[in-house]
Symmetry: D2
Subunit: 365 residues, 4 copies
């Protein structure tokens, strides 16, 4: 088995022309596509419909190619999108493909696995059942990739549902009680449930520690490899696992590093150095083509300060705090990589340390 | 003569308590204060009143100390503020003071000069008379600093008025015609007039080249050392010039570098290296206290692309493009300096190359 | 011939379930659908992708029903959307259908016609060729409706393309020059071209008066029945004409009134009174079901004042002025109708008097 | 005793020129000023500094006139500001003055009283101690106005402090626990505490009912005459009570009405009719000068629907829900009054029914 990665750009959230061109030219077999992680240009919040728009356009394209109907595509290929390309970021999507090995394995290479959980009920969102469902799905995705050792896992992308006003109403009619009917807060709790689920599956913490009471309370409990997005457009958890495995061939590898805070440029250098790419201070023109994808999670420091100095992200009524932090960390990472096609996602609660986050990168060996 | 620089933070735009404390403790003589450059936490646009609020609070404090009335303070001490602390940036202000030399000059040291132009009429804003008024004021500020050689000038901060709806009406009543009555566009033209004025005074271009027709047309004409802010709250151009001079003593120096685009991390390293401060990839804890102030201008690339990849700043109806770019470039520079107390200002039209900008820094020798 | 009107709501911009249900139940024959006018919950600006998302979902549904492909649907059924449901407004869409008469005509009844122009080149947008193309298309739509007398036309909805950065580049490559490459300004010019085209077709002005030079200059030149939206997602002008005709049967009529300013509640009452619906001060519960659709255009007063008092819409960097005015006028009209399913669209330049706009309503006789 | 009311406009939040002019001309004796209620053009959120700016400018003016220092003015004259002039609203402020009666009382006339509570500790904000402190202050303000019968009270404006990040930290250092450290949520709880305090003082509810557990839970418990604003800039509760009293002379009266929802145009008509001012549909040019001030509280319906139709205010990441509702209700009320100088304030939790609010008006007899 070998993994391929295609980083494609779009001119608007419904523009799948670059993927269609890969299919047309025969460069990529549609049946090899197993997952998509993308960055669309919406606001990243509850009313960000660029994610749903891209998903509909993607599913329409794939349905035509695979002779499936649209719901079948959506239920079988995780398409995980994060809204928000603040600052210098470029709307783009990374297509992951899996195909028979064209050569013998030679060292550890990029391995990819995917899984879907059962649909979540609104009243489960952000609670123990949610944590458990994600943990189970991550294990399924690791098995799908043939990754047995959690140490070999470098990045786990999860998309998780949240409570919307209609879903909250529906639950109330059934006599169930949602954790919160505020969609923005629900998205936050859903992300933490996802992070705890990943941390459990990777053995980064214990079930006793990563429980409901630790949410937004004990920030020492986090996953160093989880990237969780939440959105109104899905009902089940979707999981994509990236790791390195000696059973896979190809020429790609993945690395990761923890960002201690929003200024942790050292973590960026470190993740790239692990792939043999120096950045002094920027990735060189020769190395740039080897760098095939970068994924970043970040979060405004909750105490309102970065290295002792006040920031204003959390008290801003005009611009959502997640939009602020994506723009800033995106600017930093793009300065190091010299490329604006970065997946930078906010809402990193319990994904890396408080006020920090994590970075993962895929490069050609 | 020697220059001192105090980088102070505020808990809100009317909070001058740190400056008041310097006065109370005798650390700073109020009569030595000659200029302020600050970053307040408003939106940086026409309706950013954090600048006026800070100015009123500053003038009230100084009026009490200097036994002047508030308008006298405002007319004699340039207090130049730029709104917008997007992302990681910290609201803060840098106070510039000038005092008799405490030691013999020993090499070139930081020199500071200030000047005010005559008030601009609304119909002059963004036109030739505006360019000329700024050029004259820059020369006056250079003379005030004793800086004869334009090569010794590293940073020129200008605050320039713009047209508001009431001012446009007033002009119309007089039969005069403003360049534009749209306040946002007027601010942009005012910034270009300021940039051209600085470029002329520093000999970076010729009067023939830096004319009205080149505005927003020939982006090859720019100043590499001009930082222009525009605001509704003033009527005259205010100028602060920073350079290095063998006639000044003290222990401070200033440097600058041009940023070719929003990812130009090399320019940041370069400006710091000129001050003997390495950043590999970040300024060390030992060097950090030596770095006393950083000033950055930046601007979203007009063609909608950065190094060939699309950005979304110019097509965003929700967040102003200047807010986007300040957040991104602020994130990058803070990653290198390890400090969020940065003056990062948008609206860098013709201040550095299109889509780029400039950086200046002050450090202890 | 007779016209039907279906006012449907959506839970998100891709939700066509109510229309699908009408088809499923046999209440509406898909082949009778001739046009859609809708209000989606985006920001109404250049980066509002809710319009494209709805259009894709609508075209997918219709393509399945009509055995056409998606581009054929888009090229044959005008689907005109305006983004922005600020304040109390409800995302919804009105489906217009045309079917054989079920009874003899009895008085003037609602007549509907549609037309498409040829695609516009980027360099034509906002210029004379654009005005002319819209005028021709309006005449075609009137002919399609069998409306000969312009006095019988009460509402003309036009969707018109604008210049985007890629289109501007494409034009530049061909040596052509766009009026403006700023997408927001291009949308504004495109709306004026549309308004002038309608005014010409309805005989409200002359070709000499409604020319390029009058744009944003002579606000006395306007259409009292034009509603123009502009968007990045189309290339040709799309026109829907609503009038009353003795040749049509059915039980619907349309009326309109000009709003002199944003406070012109009298115009709202007037338009409803013409349909025999009093509002003292609100439409009664008995009359409410008769009111089947309401269309409003509005615009922030350019001089910055409403009845002599300052407004802040045009100087706001945080919220786009069009979002402000839609929210305010939507609140006013909803208070009179008692219903939030209103099409309230900003960008009413030269559509009604400056700072005002227009209202049209459809009701059961 | 008699009350006067001056409705003044400002060109920016630091512009007190109209009040200064009243003092200069001798029209108003500075020592008669007892309170100010104003609407500034900020965002109305935590980072709205237009309130602090106005307060500093007002206190500076009054300090000069009254030979007090600035803190003394702030501690003796309630200056209650609400940020946000979305849509058609005009930034303005109403100055309340109290002077010896110039004639015998003749029927009930406008009576005004003010009071300050003790400063609140951060951990008290939004809790029982906060409710009680407001109730006590309202009773003190009623006594100050000589209003004994709660039925004679028509409007109670309260400004109440909230928790900021520094205040939360300070409390934590003392071992105290704040209700919430999220400033936006703290403002909301503070408003409810204020509303419950007013309801208790006016006998609209019981202490058992208006307790902490009812906050954001039992929306049947509300005050029909409370208008609460919350802001970072104060530490004590400030109260202004408006009523009608036979002991006061002058020519002004105050009325109020409850708005059942955001479309309740009937309540607006009703409040005006109580003052003898018809609005069919708009206040006439003759009556307009009699209407001297209008105060409105409003709130987005929590269930996401208005009269059964979805609204999008609560799921919008770009525009704060309070900004949406102020714009919409402001548009409605301005349409009825024909005047944009309205105090329309969001955050009406438990001030009128859920999704509704209240209106009060002052007019000349």
């Amino acid at each position: 088995m070998q993994a391929s990665v295609y980083r494609l750009t779009m001119s608007h959230p419904g523009d799948l022309s670059e993927l269609a061109a890969l299919f047309e030219s025969g460069s990529l077999d549609p049946s090899h596509v197993i997952a998509v992680i993308g960055k669309t240009e919406g606001n990243g919040g509850v009313n960000d419909f660029t994610r749903g728009y891209f998903t509909l356009a993607f599913a329409t394209l794939m349905a035509g190619k695979l002779k499936l109907d649209i719901p079948q595509v959506i239920a079988s290929i995780p398409c995980i999108l994060s809204g928000g390309t603040e600052g210098v970021l470029t709307p783009h999507y990374t297509v992951f493909a899996r195909s028979p090995a064209s050569a013998q394995p030679d060292g550890k290479r990029l391995a990819i696995g995917v899984a879907f959980s059962v649909p979540m009920l609104p009243e489960q969102i952000g609670r123990q059942a949610h944590i458990d469902a994600v943990a189970t799905a991550v294990q399924a995705a690791m098995a799908d990739a043939g990754l047995e050792n959690p140490e070999d896992v470098h990045f786990v992308q999860v998309k998780t549902p949240c409570v919307t006003l209609p879903r909250a109403e529906e639950a109330t009619r059934r006599g169930a009680q949602v954790l919160t009917a505020d969609p923005g807060r629900s998205m936050a709790y859903a992300r933490v449930a996802g992070a705890f689920g990943v941390a459990l599956a990777l053995g980064e913490t214990t079930a006793a520690a990563a429980s409901e009471v630790a949410m937004f309370a004990d920030y020492g409990i986090y996953s160093s490899r989880a990237s969780i997005s939440s959105g109104v457009e899905i009902e089940a958890n979707e999981v994509i696992v990236l790791g390195n495995s000696a059973a896979w061939s190809g020429d790609l590898q993945v690395s990761h590093a923890v960002m201690q805070d929003a200024l942790d440029i050292g973590a960026v250098s470190h993740a790239l150095a692990d792939l043999g790419i120096p950045a002094l201070p920027q990735v060189s023109a020769q190395d740039a083509p080897r760098l095939r994808a970068v994924f970043v999670k970040c979060e405004p420091a909750r105490a309102g300060k970065i290295r002792g100095q006040r920031h204003t992200m959390l008290e801003d009524t005009d611009i959502n705090a997640q939009r602020h932090i994506r723009g800033a960390v995106g600017g930093l990472v793009a300065g190091v990589t010299g490329d604006t096609r970065l997946f930078v996602s906010g809402g990193a609660e319990h994904q890396g340390p408080d006020g920090g986050g994590l970075i993962a990168a895929i490069a050609q060996v």
